[in-house]
Symmetry: C2
DNA sequence: CATGATATATCGATTTCGGATATATCGCAA
DNA sequence: TTGCGATATATCCGAAATCGATATATCATG
């Protein structure tokens, strides 16, 4: 039995991370860019999702300090939490893509206005 | 801004009703049939959904007694609640189909493994 | 007479979604 | 220099959808 409502946000984030490691804010921008502005991942959706991905071992993470040109060496710069797709995450992404394709095939029967043969 | 997670159940039910008026149990069977058994609409999903559709004026309803060949004239037969797509429901269905097509177009950029031009 | 199919419906737990809010830094322009 | 928008991460909460389980009752078949 297929779930016809896959977690699109998870698919989308994993897809972004499949290209290159990234961090939250950049991910949200990449999603907006790749969808040509049609899909927006709000912080309230993105960060809990990223935490879930981390807990499930689909991504690995590490913190990085953002260096500023004029920054005082002692100053705490902004921190970025980087996310990298794990092997497990790659498998999950493949599963998402497969599930999407199958769901799409099924839904075609419902979005095509009643042109099926009268068997 | 598109919602990338359209209510597939609603689209599916409206799509079934676009063909012909029907009732709950028959709708769930029709969904299973048209999806070749891949999509199952459980009663706990279907009936609250139908109630919502009715409240929103997307469908009109009426009860019908199911006559049995051997039934005592006084016996209460099973009751069917028929649902018919309203003009408003037809518009909603068209909106769902349009939203689905647009969401599908957007998601293509995410399910295609990183083969985009390096602009 | 018992079982499975027909037929409708609610309950509660879980998950998801979206808006609002919170904190803090950096870059730029008035 | 001051304030504003962008960068950056994160939580809270209310609304909505989903799912499993349960409930009731009739009909058809063996």
């Amino acid at each position: 039995m297929l779930t016809l409502k896959p977690d699109h946000s998870e698919l989308v984030v994993l897809s972004i991370l499949a290209d290159t490691p990234s961090y939250g804010y950049a991910i949200s921008k990449a999603v907006a860019a790749r969808s040509e502005g049609h899909f927006k991942l709000a912080p309230s959706n993105l960060y809990p999702l990223l935490t879930r991905l981390e807990k499930q071992g689909l991504v690995t993470t590490n913190w990085e300090e953002v260096k500023s040109d004029t920054a005082d060496p002692d100053a705490d710069g902004r921190r970025r939490k980087w996310y990298r797709l794990s092997a497990k995450g790659q498998k999950r992404l493949a599963q998402h893509i497969d599930a999407y394709h199958r769901a799409r095939a099924i839904l075609e029967a419902f979005v095509t206005p009643a042109a099926e043969p009268r068997a």
